[in-house]
Every structure is written in structure tokens, then in C-alpha cells.
Symmetry: D2
Subunit: 361 residues, 4 copies
């Protein structure tokens, strides 16, 4: 069950970094949604290695194939299987990984858990697994847009100490995509790019924070008590490689306020209920309140560095290891579509759950 | 499915603030675990209202009854149903809630979702729902302790701006329970208690951060890719009332490091693999690595304040509302056993999953 | 997970024959359904021991209490917990069961599985567990009736060799309830009652077949490929105590036909698609086709007989055992509401699933 | 969720009759099981069209490719994706199906449910979907054999009125595979083959009964109350295309016995508990008792006949349709590996569940 996410809009991913292919099965997508590869590929291109000078140069075209679940360009309600072949797999670059555990990677824990591991490029723990998520997320985004008028966006808010200034209420996709780091604050973006390039040259890596936003979510999505919208978002985000933290609305900063200061006051406006502030981040009691949903996700600096580091080998002997292969100096630009994808899948799932239980009579 | 948590160690809670009772069904607990009410009650007493001068004075003895699933003082492998009767339910204190939505509460979103709500004391959105979690968590903690030699603890790390100094490797239950705020740093605890008392007198509320720790978890618990240990912990924590954020290990602070600085280096020690630092928080690639697991959970200031605030009524007309009833000036002391309970349930679930898939041959 | 049934209309049962109580949590019931104990009790009375001279004389009033999930006489969308106290529990009648395994009962297998068992009255394997199902089923039936205009019925078709003549298209609840064996064919019913009385006097037991019917199900409920409507019905029925077989539509008799003879031909009638025969039993490809759904469930003769039989004790030594206690000579009359309940829950679940995926745009 | 089966040994199938491929993802298979395509292909060859003169002549080599989840010829604990390309897809043979609903097929119900359908060869409702099940079942069978010493078999028991004489305790795979109808009673098999050939020439079809057997299952597999072993088997079997009924042990015939006659008496033998008869079919109270598990599955005559039959078109107008394309005159020979596969997956799932909850301390 570990490779499945969602209840009603449900995906199952499979595949390893250097196996034949990676992919996903989407089960539960409503029928009659127009869907071709052209709806999926753009998000995969945003996730693709080699897309700019600040990401890994591994060459993968990452062309997606829809091999089931559509007919005449529309979804049929049956499972949608999508597949991307692995191409530029230089296993030789990873041969040292057969016998040594990379620090702060999953090599050791996979070995400890399963007693076996596919060491080529990290195998299943490689971020190539997220191809399936991004492909499925593209469907969820289209479903949300066309069937529910909901827009999902993500963007880079902070890289190491460089903070951007972004308004979740108004930020637009064009602004995010206007630079290679995917930060809609152009001035901060320029500094971030310089930092990442400098870091890459030093053989080192940096982390940062991605912001996620969903606009247009009607009141009523999300479920008490365990499947709160923010709980499902938190799980979704912490399931992404290299993520270390999540907060919603005022988040960790909420603790600096008193209750009187922090509360979002309700006001009636044109027959609707709105709030005069949005520290709740659009969710109250686990359920959307109609305001913009926004949250943050922290990503640690990438673990693969081009320096020699102490580690142990598979025989549990001390040794050292120096990063090789083609790696990202910063995961953020490529993680933006992943955050969008996971957000969209959580929302699509809850949209269908809301429809099942609470609508229709 | 929204009221169920876990896969193999699975709980379902039910009940409202002012209904007849609240409770939980635990399904999947291994058989032959010694279990009586005496194993459960202490944790409920730590969660109980009226336990000290810094929590709500609502009087509930919260006596738990095990009504199925044990025989001769031992679990039988069948579902364990536990129940706590509601006693001191002064519904009249809440009558204004019938017609007005409390700011930053779940009143409005429940109404928007379901078209109906039990407005007495917040109904299902009341923190009384967590009684079932704490009761189930007490079983999970006992199972982890007796069957897996794992210890789970939680404690208050920060209240508003008052930070405690705590070492997750060595902190002990006696230290946590040595004061009413459940902060093991005695000096910080004293200041926190003064802050909470002062805040209560002002009719206001404060939030803060709870730390969670699991020691003794062997390498191999947790599952790629969606059911990563930290992802399930994140969901568990964000499902708690008033929680706003979660991070694991270095968490949000990880972004201040470079990869070279941040990596946890492996070393062989007495035939085991250890790390020289623990920024990973005991989890790598979603799987435990044998080091101490530690994380933080942010809780916002309680929304119920004893001041008049703007809001709307159920007819969507502007109005005001002043908090009444008996409420907590700070959720932290009573949330400590909740964090422990959720942590223990996540770990118990993964312990059984690991046993199912990877052990036994 | 073993004690939970359903996905969107989901129930969890708990409780043992002689514990304090048995009950159920219903999660996912739509909000705003009028619901009080008066909606539940009639079905429990049909399942109750002591209701007639052909069932066990155990005295249980089986009064149900709704302890959560409703407000002002309506469902709120939150989990509905219902509970029935055990009353007439003469444990002494079962003391021999502590040391001996009853033939064709679950005593041995529970012991083998769990290494422990509640031997009082069969513990969890007692048919008292079905109280929770019947209570939940009463809600599902009401939901189907009021929200989807679907009627669910069950009746005794055959007792040992006595077969009734019943038309699933027209059979009515009043006919079923017109006699204590719940067979709508009065003449067959009279013979069945005589057979059961004679069998009871002989200290023996008999089995038979229950028919189930659902009328008014619209085309489109049920899901390919694993959650076919007939697959979920089959699981539901085989989960009932003492059931040994299930078939849908023409069922086992389908094999006597050729394809040409067996096919249900489609015809257009008043803008709708109907079939000229209904060997499919209202389901094609796992999905309802708008015709009446009907199926059969075989129940073996009750295992507890008032004769000495060979068996083994808990030390695995050969011994003998003679049935004691108060038991049913025939499970059929009391199983009728159980079949209805399980049918209604399967249909309610699929009604919500259909709404989630395929409706609403 | 409809395309997923199992909890701990969990499969998800996808694909249509004439899409690019059909396949399956197996999640939860234990690591370190030796596995290559050579373990899978033999069962696919038993399911393959064109294998003999009594099955459809559609030419499909059905070569399976494992595209994830193994490394160095062993499972890694990560999801195993397997894929078979569709080859001989003569869509033109089905063009009439675009506008007409085939009687007793799923064309109409898919259209009613989804408002769209892939009409080529039945799309998702085609039996080609079972390729994924048979491939996954081959893994489950290997796991059961190697890790639990359990053997799973299925065979044809009856074709129309021709009954075979088979002992589930002793029947062997070689006997089953010794003839093209997969009936281990050679004399009955010869008559069955003649019947099927005669029926095919007449453009008609026949149905029958397949028996399933599992030997070596230890006491303790299966779970009360909903996930009884026979309940999960019933669901598994009724999810197979063309199946109409299931019974376990004495099944529908149990009703001809009295309780005294029907009970399986326990006896101690060499420190083990055995039964002197096996009307229970190896399962009591939903849990295996150590005896041989055996059951029956009824399959209706194939719906596609080479005769003109009345039906309606997609505009709901009366019309006629004559079967074309290449179809099976009898589903039984090819359904035998499907029954084995589903049986093996149910057992593998329960083996892991038993290990999770009840073993290990």
C-alpha cells in the first residue's frame, strides 16, 4: 500500500532510476475529461533534468505515454497508466554505490529494511519516482481547473537565506515560469540563481522553501478528524524527496501571536462569508473555508556533494565516498511541479469525497 | 474513512463534545498484550481538563471503560472498544454558538460542508475527540515498549517566545511530568507557567511548540514512497486540533546549511551503523536508520478568547461574539499526550507493516 | 482492518457475545438524514433472540442506543456510534467451552490464530457481532430508500429440501414478515416451521437458502474490475456466520444453458433500456443495468447440536462434547435481516462511489 | 480503488483489450524472492488465446516484461510492474460494437455508468484485463510455495452437464495440464472437449464449474469478521469475468445435511488437530483450520455467440447484432489459471496479515 496515494483520486507509482521505465496508474479519475499526452508533458518538462544550467545535466527527454484509460482523447473512468522510459542511465557512474552507503541518502535504510537494494542511481529512492506523481498531478490539476474552477500553484519562496516577497493571493504562473529558479520575485530569483551557480561550482548544495497555493477551493472540502485537508497536504509534502517540514497559513509563526491577534474574523460580503485575515491558510477544523489555501514546504540541501565524506560500506567498515554522477545543486526548481502535483491530488481527492458524502440531494 | 487512522494498527474515533460519550475502536492490536483500564487511564489523566490551574476548569473525570477486545486481562486480537462518558456538559454556555460562528473555529466550515452541525461545544470538532486517540495511543505505547523496546515521549519546547533547552537523546518522562506545563527544562517551565497564567487572566491565549521523540526504533521502519515515516508523522500531527506545522530533524532550519554541512556521516561502531550527527531526525528515505527520531509540532494560540470579536451569524449577517465557557489559555500541556499517542500509533503501524513484508524468512 | 466493511459508507463492528456490549461505528453516512433509534430497533427486533419458538430462547432485548453522530434527530455527517448491551449472558452454560473446541465452530481456529480466545459464548465469533451490522444496515436501507428510491429485501427460499416459490420482482416485506420463518410463500413457510420445530426437538439443526433482492437500483452502480457489485455482495454474504455459498442471477444454474439461451436480450422501452429476461441478476460487467438485482446465499445447519460429539480439548487430547446453552435450530429466520443489512451497505457504498466519480458535471 | 485488490499483497491492474498494453503493479511483495519473467510466462501461456482448438484463435504471444521491482533476479520490496503488449487487435471486427450493445456484455452498463466507453473489444471489460491478475498470481503462487509451503491448484470440475470426479486432496498439476480443457479426470475431459468443439461449430457457447484448492495452509490464516478467508475468496472469484457463483466446502449442498451429519469432528493426531471430515472446506469462523481449502466457482456460458440476437443501439433503438470476432466457446480452460491466481493472492495477503498481527513475539 506504500506506493499508493489518495482514496478516490488514487495513484500508484512504480519504477526505479535505472530500470526500464517509471510510471503511474491513476485510478478514479472522472470520465469524459479531455486528456492527451499534451496535457501531461509540460509539467514533466518543468520537472525534467537538463532543463537549465542550475539543475542536473542528466539527459532525459522524459516523454510520457498514456497506455490505458483514454479513448478518443477523453478519459473513460478506467485506470490511466502512464509511462516514461529511462534513457540516459550511466550506471557506471554509480558503481561505488554498490558497496558504499551515501551519507544522508536512503542506501543504508533500504538495505536495512529489505536486505537487498537496487543501488543504481538510488533505485526506487531516486527522485525519478516523482515523474509518476507529476504526470498524475497534471491530470488532477486539469480536473480541478475544468470541473471545479480551482487553480493550484507552487513557487520558490526562499533559497538558503535569500527570501522572496510573494503574495499568494495574486501570484501568477507566468511570473513563476519567468525564470529558471521558479521564484516569482524577479530580484530574489536573480540572487538565488547566482547562489545556486556558485554553490554548484563549489561542489556543494543548498536547500530552501517552496510555497504552495490553491485558489478557488469552495468551502467544505476536507474531512474531520484524521483526513483534515492540512493533514493530507502535510503527508503529501513530507512524502517528497528531501522535504523536511510543512506548515499551513501562519504555521510556525502562529506561535508569536496571541489568540486575539491571531484569529481570522468572519465578515459577510455579498452573501458570502469571508475572513478579514487569513492566518488559517484557508482551512479551519480541517475543512476549507473558501479563502486561499497556502502553505510552505522546507527542502534540505541535496545530499550528494562533490566532496569526499566519511561513510561505511556494506560490510559495515569505515570508508569514504565522493559524490559522482550528475546531480542537482538545489532541488527547488524541479520540486515546484512536484509540490503542485501533490497539492492537486490531495484537492481532487477531497473534491470527490465531498461530492460523495455531502452533495446530490 | 475520515475517522479512521492507520493500516495495521488502526483506530476509529467517534463522539462529540456534548453527546453521550466519546470513544475509539482499535483494530489490529496483536493478541496476548496485558491490558486493563489501568494502562489507559494515566494518559487520559494527562489529557484531562481540570488537571491544573493552567488548563480549562471543565470537570470531567474521563474514566475509560474497555468494553471489548480483552479477556482475562489480555488482548485477544479482536477490536478493542474504549469509551468515556461526557459529564460536565454545560450546553447553556454554548447557546450563542447555535446562531453564530466562532472566529477561527470549525463552526462555519462544518456548516458549509454538511449543511448541519452539532453546535454544542463544537460537537465533533471539539478536542474531546482526542480522548479516543490518547486511549488508543496508550495501547500503542505499551505495545512498542513491550514488544519492540521503543520509547515515545513528547514535551513542550516553546511557549510563545519562551524557548526551553532540551536534548531529545536524554530527556526523561519524569522531567516532563515534573511540572504542569510539561516542559522538562525547569527554568523555562516556570516562565511558561507565568506567561500562561498572565495570558489567562487577560482573557487571551498563547501557542507554542511541542517536541516529539522516539528512541529505540530499529533500522527499517517506514515505507517508500508515500508512507514514509515522516509523512505519516506529519499527517498524524497536522490532524491534531490547533496544529499548524511539523518538521523532522533539522526541519525548517535545514535550509541554513549547505549539503556538506548538513549531511549525517555514517560510522561503524560495534558492528552497527551509526551517524555522527542526526540532522535527518532518525529517518532517511522515509525509513528509520536506528538513530533517535525527533520532530516539532507548532500549535497556534487557542481560538476561544474572552473578548468580543467580529463574526457572522448563521444567516450570514455581521455580528460580534465573546468567548464563554471554560477554555484552555494554552493547548500545550494537554496536547503533549496527544502528540505521544499519535507518534506511538504511527510507529506501531509501521512496526507491524515491517514485520508483514520484510521479516520471517 | 478486518473489522471494517465498505469504503465510503463504512462500518466497523466490535464486541463479544458476553462482553459488556456489542456495537458499530458508521462512518461516511451523508448528513441531514432523519435518524433516531426508532429507525434501527425494528431490524434489531427481527434479528433478536427469543422472538419466536423457532429461534434461540436467549433473552436479549437488544435495545440500541445511538451515542454519536446525530443532532436534533438528524445525521451530521460525523461517525454514528451505536451500542447494544449484552444482558442474558449465562457464562456458566459455556464453561466446558473453556477447555474443549466445539466441532465446526471457530473455537479452534481462533485459538490457533491468536494463541488466546474469549471462550464465553464464542466471544467475537458469536453471531451477536451481527447486531452492529443489522443496526448499520438499517441506516443504509433508509438512505437508499430516501435518497435513491431503492428497496432491499431478503427472505427464506429453502429450508433443507423444502423449496418456496417466490418472484423477486414482486415479493413484498409484509409477505416476508407474515410468518416466523420469514418465507413469503405461506404454504412452504408452514412446512418449514414444522421441520424446524421437529429438528429442534431432536436436538439437531437444519440449514437452507436465503434470497436477497434490490429493486430500483439505477444503471451504473458497481465498479470494474475488482469491486464489481456481485463481488462485493459475495464478500458481504460470505462474511455472515454459517454462510457457505453465494450466487447471482442464474448463478450455479447458468451452466445448464447455452450462451444463446442464457443471454438477456436488450429492448428499448419508453426511452429506457430493459432486458427481456434477467439471468444476469441485474448486474453486467460488475455494474447494475437497471433490472432487479437478486441472489442466493446458502447457510449450513447450525453447528451447535444437543448431542454428544467427538472433539479435542485445548491440550489436543481426544474427548467428547455435548451442546449446551440456548441455540438456534435454524439460522435462517434471524439471518434474513443480516442479508438485507449487508446488501444495503454494499449498495449504499456503491451509490456514493458512483456519485463521487461519475456525477456532478 | 476499484482496480486494486488486496491489502498487504496488493495489485492494481490497468489496460484495455485494444489499447497499447495491459499490465499490473504488485505492491507489498516481500523482498529477496527470486523472480524473472520465466516465473510468470508459463501461467500467461495457460491463459493465452490461441493455445488450443477449444479457445479463441486470437493470436497474442502475451510476452510479459517485468519493468520494475527486481534487481539481480530478485524482488527488492518495491512495486513490481509487469506489462504485456496487445498485438492482434483487429478493431475492425468490432466496429458494430461502436453503435450497438452486445447482449449480456458490459457495453451498456459501462456506457450508463461513465457516459463513454472504449468499445474496441470490450475495452476495460475484456478478459484481457486478467493478464495482470495471472501475472501477479504467479508471483503470489511462488511466494506461497517458497515461503509458506502452500500449493494452489484449480481445475475444471464440470462443463454444462458433464461432471468430473476429482479428489481435492490428491489432484496434481500434471493431471490438470494433461489435456486442453484442464480437467484432471481424463474420461470426463474427453467428453468436455467434444462438447466444446460441437458447441463452437454451432456458434454457441457453454459454461461450467471450476474447482479451486489450497493445500498446506497452516491454521490461523483469515480474519474475523469481514475479511474471512472465504469472504475474500468469494469476492476474488466473483470479480472474474463470467463468474456467477461461489461456494466453499460443502457449499450449497450443506443444506441437505442436518447439523449432526454436517459437523466436522476434531481428532488429535500426532500432536496436531485434524478433522475426520472436511465439509468446512478448511475454514472455520473465517480462519483456516489446517485442512485442505477447496471451493467451486460457476462460470456462465460466454455471452458472445455467432447468432443474430435482439438488442438496442446507443440511441436506444431496437436492432439486432450477430457476434463476430474471435471468441471462446467456453471460458473454463483459460479461467483455470485465473482462479489459481486470485486464490494465491488472497492467501498471500492473509499470510502477511497473519504475520503482522499474530507472530513474532
Amino acid at each position: 500500500m506504500a506506493n499508493t496515494f489518495g482514496h478516490l483520486f488514487r495513484i500508484t507509482t512504480w519504477g526505479e532510476s535505472h530500470g526500464g521505465a517509471v510510471g503511474v496508474v491513476v485510478d478514479g479519475c472522472p470520465p469524459r475529461l479531455a486528456l492527451t499526452e499534451a496535457d501531461i508533458q509540460p509539467d514533466l518538462d518543468r520537472r525534467r533534468p537538463g532543463q537549465s544550467r542550475i539543475v542536473t545535466p542528466r539527459r532525459e527527454s522524459d516523454n510520457v505515454q498514456i497506455i490505458s484509460g483514454t479513448f478518443g482523447g477523453k478519459t473513460t473512468g478506467t485506470p490511466i497508466c502512464m509511462l516514461v522510459r529511462n534513457e540516459d542511465a550511466r550506471s557506471e557512474a554509480y558503481s561505488e554505490m554498490a558497496s558504499k552507503f551515501r551519507p544522508s541518502h536512503a542506501d543504508y535504510t533500504y538495505q536495512a529494511k529489505y536486505g537487498i537494494r537496487n543501488w543504481q542511481g538510488g533505485g526506487r529512492s531516486s527522485a525519478r519516482e516523482t515523474i509518476g506523481r507529476v504526470a498524475a498531478g497534471a491530470i488532477a490539476k486539469k480536473l480541478l481547473r475544468e470541473q471545479f474552477d480551482v487553480e493550484v500553484l507552487a513557487y520558490v519562496m526562499q533559497t538558503q537565506r535569500i527570501k522572496a516577497c510573494i503574495d499568494p493571493e495574486t501570484v501568477r504562473m507566468e511570473e513563476i515560469e519567468s525564470n529558471i529558479v521558479r521564484c516569482p520575485d524577479a530580484s530574489a530569483a536573480a540572487r538565488m540563481i547566482r547562489l545556486i551557480e556558485k554553490t554548484r561550482k563549489a561542489g556543494d548544495t543548498v536547500g530552501g522553501i517552496i510555497g504552495g497555493v490553491a485558489r478557488g477551493v469552495p468551502p467544505g472540502w476536507g474531512e474531520p478528524v484524521f483526513d483534515r485537508l492540512e493533514a493530507d497536504l502535510a503527508k503529501a509534502m513530507l512524502s517528497l524527496p528531501a522535504s523536511k517540514g510543512f506548515d499551513i497559513g501562519s504555521g510556525f509563526n502562529s506561535i508569536l501571536f496571541t489568540g486575539c491577534e491571531h484569529n481570522d474574523l468572519f465578515r459577510a460580503r455579498k452573501g458570502k462569508v469571508v475572513t478579514t485575515s487569513n492566518r488559517s491558510g484557508g482551512i479551519q477544523g480541517g475543512i476549507s473555508n473558501g479563502q486561499t489555501i497556502y502553505f510552505r514546504v522546507a527542502f534540505k540541501p541535496v545530499a550528494t556533494v562533490m566532496h569526499e565524506q566519511e561513510t561505511v560500506d556494506v560490510e559495515f567498515r569505515n570508508t569514504t565516498l565522493r559524490g559522482r554522477g550528475r546531480h542537482d545543486p538545489c532541488v527547488l526548481p524541479r520540486a515546484v511541479p512536484m509540490v503542485e502535483a501533490m497539492t492537486a491530488m490531495v484537492l481532487a481527492d477531497h473534491a470527490l469525497r465531498q461530492r460523495a458524502q455531502c452533495e446530490g440531494w
